[in-house]
Amino acid sequence: MTHYLDHAATTPVHPLVAEAMVAELARVGNPSSVHAPGRAARRAVEESRERLAATLGARPSEVVWTSGGTEADNLAVKGLWWARHGADPRRIRVLVSAVEHHAVLDPARWLATQGADVVELPVHPDGALDLDALAAELSEHGDRVALVSVMWANNEIGTVQPLAEVVELAHAHGVPVHTDAVQAFGHLPVDLRAIAVDAVTISAHKLGGPVGVGALVARRGLELVPVLHGGGQERSVRSGTLDAVGSVGMALAAELAVADLPSEAVRLAALRDALVDGARRLVPDAVLRGPEPSTGRRLPHSAHLTFPGCEGDSLLYLMDSRGVACSTGSACAAGVPQPSHVLLACGVDEADARGALRFSLGRTSTAQDVEAVLAALPEVVARAKAAGLASAPARRVG
């Protein structure tokens, strides 16, 4: 039996979502066609747009459907840069936190090859943005900043960012703020009536919807230059045939997740606390990364731990072979786990950063899943430590 603790990578499609998508899949019609089948498909897309917007406290016209979180992040970062820099060539600076997902970080670094000055803002050891650094950057170069992008909550270590403060600082200098809320939406209240952020990225498959659908929720009046040009759908901001099936799935998944959020956040946080407490008891040198759960400044459904002397690939294999599916939490290059840029930005040294595991919970998680992790953990860590010694490079002296 497999215990699935990688819900932050992707979480099972909700059965009601699958049912609604299958029903929609049985119909024909391009939402841009004017005939009756086209109108029916258009109605499905627009109703989904309204329902999704309602879950976020946004207006339907603010929802731009995309193929997922990565595309929405690219549209926000590149689209805002092109629009803002195009309107005012002095605005060449792009400010992002150093712990952004690669879907934000890499577009920003690419913009650096196109003339942008990209600043990767430092974070505190718990992963929270250094607001003083942002304030200093804005007061020194505020009229030269094109955009700020700071995630709602970190996908690896779960840190919730001080987004309201970020928005306040940026808006004081007339700078728009984008946030990647892919991990936060469905696990934390994301209410755009309560925070004046300008653009928000969300993704369906982290909430019980399908892979391949997401949205950028962009405030009315926010100018975005498109990444995809073509048929002019989505107010010409994002061309491509509208996905009736995907939008139906995403809207329902979001409604279900938001409706269940108050009870699920409490239930999952309790499971997460049991996991963290157990891991610390069984492996005393394990280190929880990100803020302590008691601070309330972390996602309720994930725990990220580093195990000194262990390699992430060993930990992952040993957990997998004992029926526990989890993650090292960081990106791979050609399948090779790399020390996480998030941990390095938090000041963790490279050796410790290599021995990381992320456990993330979701709708189908149970106490048995946590028990399975804790049952396996002591032997897994002991073996991974022995393997780390066996394969460690001989350190040169002097």
Binding site: D313, A334, G335, V336, R383, A386, A390, S391, P393, A394
Partner: protein, 360 residues
């Protein structure tokens, strides 16, 4: 048994893993990332270092229905195999990095990590046989396919580690059979070309790699009497027995071809001369790996002196902590740094790294 199948991304290791699965073992595939510059996407097979190789290995594991992991051993590889490669060339010797990789990586770092993680054996696509005779001492033998035999590069692993090694391809008749088997199993690598180049030299340009890492150090090319006959850009660029690329402007006085006789890092000079001066009748080996108990008495057998080289009738014995070898007939162009492997029939009896050669 719990078996770790090393998957290079080539056809041999994929079929070896498939055979381990067939034998009923609990198999997990591991691809070793060895190169620092693995971000490059090179085409053609080099069997370990490209993204293409890693994805071929993953695809093979998927077809076999086994787990797949990538282990990053690039730091260890750099500190052992690549460092040895460079220091040996810098010392005027001719290293065999495949031997060093088997010694330090495949049957050391990989095998030890696998053992620590609970695996009983490491399975590779090498062509060699392991036998367990009556006396319980495992022995290493040439592969059935003599043309593909790799016992020469494996001998360095020694007898103890054989108990944790598995070479399912040692008994196949020919490489073509392996390709046919791969195709029949639906493995997508069945037609992938064999690898020949050094996996860590990105574009196959070994001279360029050495120049970049060791730097240019111009010096003299001299004849056996010490007379300067030319200039070179770095003594490391030459290998004993080499004939081409000496860059000598004028032919020798006797008009006969000249070969590299010696590389002398101390004076940064390269010695050239006639072919017969290359003849070697004996050698001394260091870092000896004994499969049979060491003996001060002579043992008569055959010695192989390079990968896929023809074995030479010879005698050997233990002497002063090393290995003394007398060749029954002279061999040309033997370089220090290469591996010497003594065989009794098809069985490996001893292995050593050539330290000194004896010319008549």
């Amino acid at each position: 048994m719990r078996v770790l199948a090393a998957l290079s991304g080539g056809v041999d290791s994929a079929v070896a893993a498939a055979r381990a699965v067939d034998a009923g073992h609990d198999v997990v595939g591991v691809h070793m990332a060895l190169s620092r510059s693995r971000a490059e996407h090179r085409t053609g097979s080099r069997g370990c270092c490209t993204i293409e190789d890693a994805s071929d290995a993953r695809r093979s594991a998927d077809v076999l229905g086994i787990g797949y992991y990538v282990w990053d051993l690039s730091e260890r590889f750099e500190e052992t195999v690549v460092a040895d490669f460079l220091s040996e060339y810098a010392a005027g010797r001719t290293p065999n990095p495949c031997v060093r990789c088997n010694e330090h990586i495949k049957f050391s770092a990989l095998l030890d990590k696998a053992t620590a993680l609970g695996f009983d054996a490491v399975c590779t696509g090498h062509y060699a046989r392991v036998e367990l005779p009556e006396d319980g001492r495992r022995s290493l033998h040439r592969a059935r396919d003599a043309a593909k035999d790799q016992s020469y590069v494996l001998a360095v692993m020694g007898p103890e580690r054989l108990a944790r090694a598995m070479f399912p391809l040692g008994t196949v008749a020919t490489k073509d059979d392996v390709r046919a088997e791969a195709a029949a199993r639906g493995l997508p690598v069945s037609a992938k070309p064999d690898s020949y180049d050094l996996c860590f030299v990105a574009d196959g340009d070994t001279q360029g790699f050495l120049r970049e890492r060791l730097g240019s150090t111009p010096g003299d090319v001299v004849d056996a009497d010490g007379a300067v006959v030319g200039r070179h850009d770095g003594a490391w660029a030459f290998t004993v027995g080499q004939r081409k690329g000496l860059g000598l402007g004028r032919p020798a006085a006797d008009g006969r071809p000249r070969y590299v006789l010696d590389v002398r890092p101390a004076t940064n000079s390269v010695v050239v001369g006639a072919a017969e001066l290359l003849s070697v009748t004996g050698l001394r080996g260091a870092d000896v790996v004994w499969f049979d108990p060491p003996s001060a008495g002579w043992t008569a057998g055959e010695v192989q002196l390079r990968a896929h080289g023809t074995p030479v009738p010879a005698r050997w014995r233990a002497a002063d902590g090393g290995l003394e070898v007398r060749l029954d007939r002279p061999v040309r162009g033997l370089a220090a740094g290469q591996s010497a492997v003594g065989y009794l029939g098809d069985r490996v009896a001893v292995q050593a790294t050539i330290d000194e050669v004896e010319r008549r």
